[in-house]
Symmetry: C2
Subunit: 350 residues, 2 copies
């Protein structure tokens, strides 16, 4: 298999991104949606920030809170000596029944002519702003349909992780379409066109009592209301996708079917990318599934970082028989790998 | 508060129900949907059966399995000495990563003229028959809309617990509408009419990583595709609804608003019923919520049984200002309690 990492990898690192406030620092920039808009390749970056910690005896975290009917950003500090707090996981703080995240993600626009060198906006594009976004907005995917860019992302709050949908024509004005998949559901990938009269989306519910984090598919007439949910694909007993699987990039059309670049993680949370071929006329039917990963953590920036051993994609660009896979590496930086459609077919034995 | 248990309670017990096969026994009959059809009050009973255990060294369980493209009932036996099996919970068996339920539920019709004495069909009405129903179909709710009876129920399988929708005009022929809320989601209550042009349903997702089992509401144009999910109501810190809450009966309309009889359980899984008043024109708005339960386990059949200390309703009949609450008691029998709408208003302080 010939997949080629860009020699400029990682393309975007936290130091490239201006924080949204002077008292914040950008910790991670990863898991970006991708599309073309006018002459540009646009990445919708997930930017994770945290307050600059100025008092060594405290941990200060950001949260979106309702104040007089409006949701606004607040900072909450926890005393490191407070025995009712659990600081053992650096990503979160538990206090009694409540949980807080130490960083908060928003979505930022980056633009490029060549797909390699990006100009990154200085201010957020989508900033958390509802009760469903208390802890942030994560992992955007963007699908262009009939002149509108539909962007779905994980809305994270104390109520759980849901998937919210917004749309824009110009990457400036954003219209809310509401929660399309309630808690717990993320990794939603909306197909870019109607198939036999219906829109389709991959989604990844996480059941609590019985079942695993696996891939489902649903259909819709309007992209807002979803039904006819079907189980699409499960984890495997052993190996790189034995822990959890979920949608990655927005699927793209080829002559042999829809190709989906998805993620699979093993029981040690090592995240790889796989490829899936789905029937052109019925995307609930799987034609082929990669036995081996199409990309696995090997480069230094994929193996080491904020959360090492992770490659995770929210979007690809397929142009001229070549697939540019943008992916988050180690939950910290953004990288690019390229592979031809022919090579993906080979991997899938089709 | 004046709520009156029927003096013939429990109205239906397992011995009243003929098993679906001669080698099965009915263990529990509970959590029934209720509606009027022609001159009858119809209960859609949840009937839980298990194979009669004939070999003391084994535990035999029922499961729906795919055989040559068709789903059929099979029996699987586990050796009680098999150390890879966990038999510690009498409701289930765990073997390696897999789980099996010791009983399987189907849905049975019972008819009555007076709402107290029921004739129970000898054969199942809805029997598990898909990959989503491997372990059974549970807790039906029925909503009458425009000449059709829409029945939703929990479809339980190794993939998780989802909510499936079917419809019928005659309680004989059933049409599948598919999964309307994917795993993990149950306690779905569909409103009986459009409100401002949209159908509404209460639902109860169970998030895995963050959040609690709490009540959400969604809307639809066709009852099949659902969107605009909103968080409706959470658990409380202490008391009878501190563990989990969820929809109970199909909501009914009164002059002061929609009344929903829901369930709340504390952290010891003691299940009570509460009442909720929702805005007539906007059922996402709560007008009042009962501080105290409207019904709590007190009678012997509510306190003792298959799973004691449970009262749980899937349906009520509201006629002549009186609400007949049909409810499962101790997950084993069906009982009836009556309360006037005036008394519910008093409980809600409205």
């Amino acid at each position: 298999m010939v997949i080629e990492r860009n020699r400029k990898n990682p393309l975007i690192i936290p130091a490239d991104v201006k924080p949204s406030r002077e008292d914040f620092s950008v910790e991670c920039v990863f898991n970006a949606g991708v599309t073309r808009y006018n002459d540009d390749i646009i990445l919708l970056l997930r930017v994770a920030e945290r307050p600059i910690q100025t008092d060594e005896s405290k941990v200060t975290v950001p949260i979106i809170k309702e104040v007089n009917g409006k949701f606004e950003l607040q900072l909450i500090s926890f005393d490191k000596n407070d025995s009712s707090c659990d600081f053992s996981d650096s990503r979160l703080i538990k206090k009694n029944d409540e949980m807080y995240l130490t960083s908060m993600s928003h979505i930022r626009i980056a633009k490029s002519k060549d797909g390699i060198n990006f100009d990154i906006d200085e201010t957020p594009f989508i900033f958390p702003q509802t009760q469903y976004e208390e802890f942030g907005v994560e992992d955007p995917r963007v699908t262009f349909i009939d002149g509108e860019y539909y962007i779905n992302y994980s809305a994270v709050s104390s109520k759980g992780i849901a998937t919210n949908l917004v749309k824009t024509k110009d990457f400036k004005n954003v219209e809310q379409e509401g929660i399309i998949f309630p808690v717990e559901n993320r990794d939603v990938c909306i197909y870019p066109e109607k198939i036999n009269g219906k829109y389709y989306a991959l989604h990844r519910p996480v059941p609590s009592m019985i079942g695993n984090p696996e891939m489902w598919i649903a259909s819709s007439e309007d992209l807002i209301h979803w039904g006819r949910h079907e189980f699409l694909m499960g984890t495997k007993k052993e190996g790189w996708e034995s822990g959890r699987i979920g949608g990655g990039a927005v699927p793209f059309k080829t002559e042999k079917g829809w190709i989906e670049i998805y993620h699979g993680a093993d029981k040690n949370n090592r995240y790889c990318l796989g490829a899936l071929l789905l029937d052109l006329d019925d995307p609930t039917k799987i034609i082929a599934r990669s036995e081996k990963p199409i990309l696995e953590p090997e480069a230094k920036y994929e193996v080491e970082g904020f959360f090492g051993n992770v490659v995770f994609s929210c979007g690809v660009l397929c142009e001229n028989e070549c697939v540019k896979i943008y992916y988050g590496a180690s939950d910290e930086v953004i990288a690019l790998a390229e592979i031809s459609i022919e090579e993906i077919y080979k991997l899938l034995n089709v």
